[in-house]
């Protein structure tokens, strides 16, 4: 079973992601802050990470940069998640995030899109 690490500070959103991914056959691990996310990454060696941009202490960008700089993290796919207020934000965010992470999800989630991105990054698409 593939393991997914969810780094998200809002407990409800974290629960939704965990439950939805679990229902689709993934094992999930949750972290609620940037430093905790990095710690979990080292301990649990997930196959994929979902990282929220707005995180306490260390934001999502910093977390991604940190993980991508580690040997183990180079090959771990990461999806960044962020609330956007309009299309304009989205386009600039996509550029900003595209250079860092492997994909980008805007909140509120479209669960179908989330699942297809996860599957694609894990190489499960037919």
């Amino acid at each position: 079973m593939k393991k997914i690490l969810v780094v998200e500070d809002d407990p409800v959103n974290s629960m939704i992601l965990a439950d939805f991914l679990a229902a689709n056959g993934y094992e999930t691990v949750a972290a609620s802050s940037g430093p905790e996310g990095i710690e979990r990454f080292e301990q649990d060696a997930p196959d994929l990470m979902l990282v929220d941009v707005q995180l306490p202490r260390q934001n999502g960008f910093e977390v991604v940069r940190e993980i991508k700089s580690r040997p183990a993290g180079k090959t771990t796919p990461i999806l960044l998640m962020s609330a956007v207020y309009n299309d304009r934000d989205q386009s600039s965010r996509t550029v900003q995030l595209g250079t860092l992470a492997d994909g980008y999800l805007s909140k509120p989630f479209d669960l179908v899109n989330l699942l297809s991105q996860v599957r694609q990054l894990l190489g499960e698409t037919k």
Binding site: D10, D19, F20, A22, A23, Q54, K107, P108, F109, L111
Partner: protein
């Protein structure tokens, strides 16, 4: 009275006028002392010149002082005083040797003081008047109308000690007094300027703090709404066990409610940005048919369970226009949301696009309650709805149309409104097909909070 003279009466210029009056009195006192000196040294023409200067200057300057003190006939008395200065000086110049008078330099002093204390118009006007009065004097002297005056200390004569001392005192007076008062005036103005700068900086930071506060509040508001939506989604997807059709419908309803709440929160943020002057336009090619289709799809949730017909009519073969697609979409979404809100069940909302002249016409027509004549202006103000809307208890805080008005301005477009109470309303947005908008807009809305409250606002308290 010419505008540039009337402008000098403004409250901001009052200190300058006062300085003019006080320096006038100081100079008059100086002239009186010089008249006494001239009498002692037996300089007859100078004595007459100074007595003449003292008496008339005292009169006109007192008039100007009265005008300012009573705040009546301010510019009239000021004008008389200034014109009298030039006339008096010309007369004094005549008495002290006409074109050879050492007082001639005082003309320059008058212009220098005027240029510091007044504006360009007044300075040029008085320079013209100086040339006019000086040449009049010369013409009167050369034609013999005015007899020539003796010149004390003219070439070939050794000037008396009395003459030299009087001339030096005169020079010190006409240079020193205006220099002192002008410097004092400028210092006063600079103090005012820095006060204004401080106040402006304070206001700007208050406005920035306010919009930052709203921005972070908006984020905090959105997060739980995302939670509501996400939970409705996972429940409906059967993540927590099998769901009945009825439960699926309920989940869809929860999601719709959350979406409309989200849309409202977004409006608040957009408007805050617009108020902070932060919205910018990125013109590019816009395919209208695609835009209208995309927008009407994305607003279908607004109709929800309400029995409304939402239809689109786009003229065939519309060429792409150059405008900002995102803001156009936003304008349409807001207008449609508005139409849906104020149209009762069984009604119809029609979205259409066509070209008329150099404009693309986006039209949102509804069969709703309509907008009364007297409400048509104010519905575009933030936080307002028509009176009828308030009475009948339609929801919403009235932000949508305020945002539309701002965006329309940014895009260089116009919005027209036709409406009949009880029958419906038609909003027509005329967008120039080639870009005529602005790149960034500093769309400043007068704060709804009194300034005093704004400056006291502290988001950390």
């Amino acid at each position: 009275m010419p505008g540039f003279v009337a402008e000098m009466a403004a409250p901001a210029n009052r200190p300058k006028l006062w300085f003019g009056v006080w320096s006038g009195f100081a100079i008059t006192v100086g002239f009186a002392a010089l008249a006494v000196a001239a009498a002692l040294f037996d300089l007859t023409p100078w004595r007459w010149a100074f007595l003449w200067l003292v008496s008339v200057k005292l009169l006109t300057n007192s008039l100007a002082w009265l005008g300012l003190a009573r705040d009546r006939w301010v510019m009239e008395t000021q004008s008389i005083n200034t014109i009298a200065d030039v006339g008096l000086l010309t007369a004094a110049i005549y008495f002290t040797g006409g074109p050879y008078s050492p007082l001639l330099s005082t003309y320059v002093i008058i212009i220098a003081v005027l240029s510091l204390l007044t504006n360009l118009g007044v300075t040029i006007l008085m320079a013209g008047f100086i040339v006019l009065s000086f040449s009049t004097m010369l013409i009167l002297m050369t034609t013999g109308v005015l007899p020539p005056t003796p010149i004390p200390g003219s070439p070939g004569q050794i000037p008396s000690i009395g003459y030299v001392l009087t001339a030096i005192a005169f020079c010190a007076l006409v240079v020193g007094v205006p220099a002192f008062f002008s410097a004092a005036t400028l210092r006063l103005l600079r103090t005012k300027e820095s006060e204004i700068e401080k106040r402006t900086a304070l206001l700007i930071s208050a406005a920035t703090q306010r919009s930052q506060f709203v921005a972070s509040m908006t984020h905090e508001l959105r997060t739980p709404i995302h939670g509501v939506q996400g939970l409705a989604d996972v429940i409906a997807a059967g993540v927590y066990g099998p769901v009945t059709d009825k439960q699926k419908d309920a989940c869809a309803a929860i999601k719709r409610s959350a979406q409309s709440l989200l849309a409202l929160v977004d409006d608040v943020l957009q408007l805050t940005r617009a108020e902070a002057g932060k919205i910018d336009a990125r013109p590019g090619p816009v395919k209208i048919a695609e835009l209208v289709e995309r927008v009407s799809e994305s607003v279908s949730y607004m109709v929800g369970t309400k029995k409304l017909t939402l239809e689109t009519k786009v003229e065939k073969d519309l060429l792409p226009i150059t405008s900002d697609e995102r803001w156009l979409a936003h304008i349409l979404v807001n207008l449609i949301a508005n139409a849906v809100k104020f149209t009762p069940e069984g009604g119809r909302v029609t979205v259409s696009a066509s070209v008329s002249g150099n404009d693309l016409v986006l039209c949102v027509e509804d069969t709703g309650i309509g907008i009364a004549e007297e409400d048509r202006e104010r519905i575009f103000e933030p936080f307002r709805q028509g009176e009828k809307g308030d009475e009948r208890g339609y929801g919403g805080v009235g932000l949508g149309l305020a945002l539309v008005a701002k965006l329309v301005e940014l895009l260089g477009a116009r919005v027209e409104l036709e409406s009949e109470v009880g029958k419906g309303s038609t909003f027509r947005v005329l967008v120039p097909t080639s870009w005529k908008g602005r790149r960034t807009a500093t769309l400043v809305v007068p704060p709804r909070v009194p300034t005093a409250e704004l400056t006291r606002f502290d988001p950390n308290s």
